[in-house]
């Protein structure tokens, strides 16, 4: 399965900013995404920013990582400058159209 650029960046930043190993960082982000109802391959930057704000700080705290909110803010700032790579044609986007006006 291919992974989105947002996922790759957040994992690598988390690895650098904490004492987590690559595997631990990726596992933590995967769990945060699962908690948020998102997937590694389809998560978009805007969605990842919300995860960093609302889900990730608790995930980091539960793993004993100090100043999780600050770490998340730092990662979010880096993510803001990255181009989106996730697909546009998600099930949510398709179902958002299906009751649209049929002109």
């Amino acid at each position: 399965m291919s992974e989105s650029r947002a996922f790759t960046l957040v994992c690598s930043e988390l690895e650098q900013l904490t004492r987590m190993t690559r595997l631990e960082a990726r596992g933590t982000v995967r769990l945060a995404l699962k908690e948020a109802g998102l997937t590694v391959d389809a998560v978009r930057n805007a969605e990842m920013l919300v995860v960093l704000k609302k889900v990730m700080p608790q995930e980091l705290a539960s793993r004993g990582v100090a100043s999780g909110e600050e770490i998340c803010r730092t990662i979010a700032a880096k993510l803001a400058g990255v181009a989106d790579s996730a697909p546009d044609q998600t099930p949510e986007a398709v179902f958002g159209r299906l009751a649209g006006e049929a002109r």
Partner: protein, 247 residues
């Protein structure tokens, strides 16, 4: 009871036509494959397959050639419609990976296979008269495709509910996914029941049980089609208000 079942069946067929035409018009405007696939799937499998088969099977006063032609047309609609729904599952829910492609090819291959076996074996007039032959397995194949839709849509709905909690999903789209799951579950249930009866060679068309089943499932399918694809404004307000209250 016969009149209630006939009216309920007619209602669901008309709803299928209305919804599928809306989806096809939407596809013409957006030029996107998903709305085209689900529009064709609903029109062919939901709106034409059963009525053509019912007339071909039960209108015994029609000439044999016409009855055979009607069930052939019905089978073609069933084959193309169910194929569209299988491709929709693949393209919308599982666009990457080899397994969904295998599932789609297997579904279409099996449908083509039983249609060819019916043509080369007992023939379509035999099906129109006796409802016997390889094509009787079409209900079971349809049930399998509906089950696939149901599982995928249910999974997506569970994910959307999680997203909704952190403000990442639209409550209306989340609810539409729930209704679509219920629509596919009803279709799966109806197809499975008819498949079991056909496999056991128990006549169900026209019986009291068959009429009750037809009426109940038709009413449910009409309701779900309406709420998923042409939702009334009042219903959408209710969904939004409920989501706001839960937030």
């Amino acid at each position: 009871m016969q009149i209630v079942a006939a009216l309920a069946g007619l209602l669901s067929v008309v709803f299928c036509w209305v919804v599928s035409v809306r989806l096809l018009l939407l596809a013409r405007r957006t030029r996107q494959a998903p709305e085209l696939l689900i529009g064709l799937g609903l029109l062919l499998a939901g709106g034409l397959w059963s009525p053509l088969m019912a007339v071909g099977r039960q209108a015994t006063t029609l000439p044999d050639a016409l009855r055979a032609a009607l069930v052939i047309a019905g089978a073609l609609c069933g084959l193309c419609g169910m194929s569209c729904i299988a491709i929709f599952n693949w393209r919308v829910f599982r666009p990457s990976g080899a397994l969904p492609v295998v599932l789609v090819l297997a579904s279409i291959g099996a449908l083509v296979g039983i249609a060819a076996a019916q043509t080369l074996g007992p023939g379509w007039l035999h099906f129109a008269r006796e409802e016997r032959g390889p094509w009787t397995n079409a209900s079971a194949l349809g049930a399998a495709i509906y089950l696939w839709s149901c599982i995928e849509a249910g999974r997506q709905h569970a994910m959307l509910k999680r997203r909704l909690r952190i403000g990442l999903a639209d409550p209306v789209v989340t609810d539409r996914m729930r209704i679509f799951t219920l629509l596919m579950s009803s279709s799966f249930f109806a197809s499975s029941v008819f498949a079991v009866f056909q496999t056991l060679h128990i006549p169900v068309a026209g019986t009291t049980l068959g009429l009750w089943l037809t009426a109940a499932v038709s009413i449910l399918i009409s309701l779900f089609l309406c709420l998923a694809f042409v939702p009334p404004a009042g219903y959408l307000d209710l969904v939004r208000r409920r989501a706001a209250a839960e937030a």
